[in-house]
Symmetry: C2
Subunit: 329 residues, 2 copies
């Protein structure tokens, strides 16, 4: 355990969930955790909502933490919506948050290119949905609905290539733009061979072309009825033809955390990551030196957490976010 995490709060039992069988977070530990933490980073699906339904007690818990002066940040690996798209979902569910509190992997992809001073005369090819591109005309929050557009980066691909077919006559080749200097791969339910070949050509043939993945999630909850093949499939397709590994901007890779910590000037040991997935959310928190709280309101069951085959141990766990409400004075 990094020394930066164990020092500040003597009352939190650091042994609770690590590494063996453990009990849900005790009342004293809840209080100590909330007192010690300045910023809560929440995963969304499985913590805040499931599909289109708010999880019980979330608004009250959010309101309580705000009253206590905590900074709240909501992160999601889903790149199909822009920040404005997520903001709309929060507001539709009755949660009062601001666009600056939302970090999606679609935003992170654009922020990453901006952070490395991506040349503005170059272009990005996108396998993915509108969230990465931006430029939705229906947004009420235009500054937050323009991920690549918002940082002035030219792009092609995405939804406009959704219906393209490849026919293979003798001598035929697919032309590609030599000015594409990065390929971003996000979840894309309209993935097709045209997009795979276009992205492959850019990465293999344009010198120095970057390969960026919004995330590597194997499966995702597109609907509340089933797990669906996630961006691991789209990224896997491009890995398979290029033999290249992508730079990942979503959880559990560290980019979003570093970006958030720098932007707000937060010490990592004063952040608590709250999530429902061991291999993304909790790993993201552990790797980043954050405190971690697993909630069982999403995909991870108590049996999975406690099983001998699980090697990812959060600092604490509880059934749902609203369990924190008992610390209210």
């Amino acid at each position: 355990m990094p020394s930066s995490r164990s020092a500040p709060v003597a009352r939190v039992s650091q042994e609770t969930c690590n590494p063996a069988v453990c009990a849900p977070i005790a009342e004293d530990d809840k209080r100590a955790l909330v007192d010690a933490v300045e910023t809560f980073i929440f995963d969304c699906d499985g913590v805040i909502w499931k599909g289109d339904s708010l999880i019980e007690g979330v608004p009250e818990t959010i309101a309580m933490l705000r009253d206590m002066g905590k900074r709240l940040i909501f992160v999601t690996n889903n790149s199909t919506k822009s920040r404005a798209g997520y903001l709309k979902k929060f507001l539709d569910l009755g949660l009062e948050i601001t666009a600056d509190e939302v970090f999606s992997s679609s935003f992170a992809a654009a922020a990453y290119l901006d952070s490395i001073d991506f040349p503005r005369d170059k272009k990005v090819y996108v396998v993915g949905e509108t969230g990465i591109l931006g430029a939705s005309s229906s947004s009420h929050w235009p500054p937050y609905d323009r991920e690549l557009d918002g940082v002035g980066i030219q792009h092609l691909g995405g939804e406009s290539d959704g219906d393209k077919k490849v026919t293979l006559a003798s001598g035929q080749l697919m032309e590609h733009d030599p000015d594409v200097a990065a390929v971003i791969v996000g979840f894309d339910r309209n993935v097709n061979y045209y997009k795979i070949q276009y992205a492959t050509l850019c990465i293999r043939e344009n010198p120095g072309c970057k390969f960026i993945a919004t995330n590597m999630d194997a499966v995702t909850h597109l609907t509340d009825a089933q797990e669906w093949a996630g961006n691991g499939s789209m990224v896997g397709a491009i890995k398979g033809s290029t033999k290249r590994e992508p730079f990942v901007v979503g959880k559990p890779a560290p980019f979003m955390l570093d970006y958030i910590a720098n932007k707000f000037g937060i010490k990592k040991n004063q952040i608590c990551m709250v999530g429902d997935r061991l291999d993304t959310d909790i790993m993201f928190g552990i790797d980043g030196g954050l405190r971690t709280l697993l909630v069982l309101s999403g995909v991870t069951s108590e049996t999975e957490l406690q099983s001998e085959s699980n090697s990812i141990h959060p600092d604490h766990y509880t059934s749902k976010l609203a369990d924190l409400l008992t610390v209210k004075k």
Copy 2:
């Protein structure tokens, strides 16, 4: 180098291409190689043809080797055609071969399931084109145009799922057949999210469901003008969502070689693998204990072969198959 390969033919200089800079095969070594070898296994694309054009001197070389009593076998990782489809291509190009001499990875996938006594009351889901399924009505060689059908294995998917779309309403789930006990993934220019999700569901949710790849080729020569994203993309997509590794039946995996050696009762050190790709053909030969001859008429250049970064060294190399014609008496 395996001892089984170095013993029989003293006149072949075993040091020629292994491991450092080497020269094209000498006349004496050509003669020794042809004398020592009972069976030649040829890769097709880059050795026999390029796209739709026959490579210079191939018919004469094939005829010479036949006259010398050599067994000839043609193997291809391409699963988009059945054996009958390939036979038609050979005959259209003026090469007289028989269907029993052709081994494609589409045939290998069916042969593999047959070899493990795949239960005939179970089914296979196919990501891929017609070659795997069989059942083309246009074939003149019906016994060789029915890969899965030919071994009596029920299948679904393939081309019939090419136009299916996924719409994601709340509560929606994709039904899948619990009797699917294997997923075969071959090159598929109509790959789409429906097929990816269907294959993912079968592999993740049907207990014991096998995951079979016709090959893992990163790129392939679909046309003679360009390299196209290969089956590495389709397999990569399913690996990405299932976190499972496939059983590979095509080169360089050993299944096809073992099948051919058993079927014809050939000793492996009496086989020479002739191919144009280091990482599939030559690797397949080296791993299988075969003699190996690289031809430069396909994708590998002499510079790549001789570069320090190349770690795959054939026993011999030459510019094209027809260079063997000089051994004719």
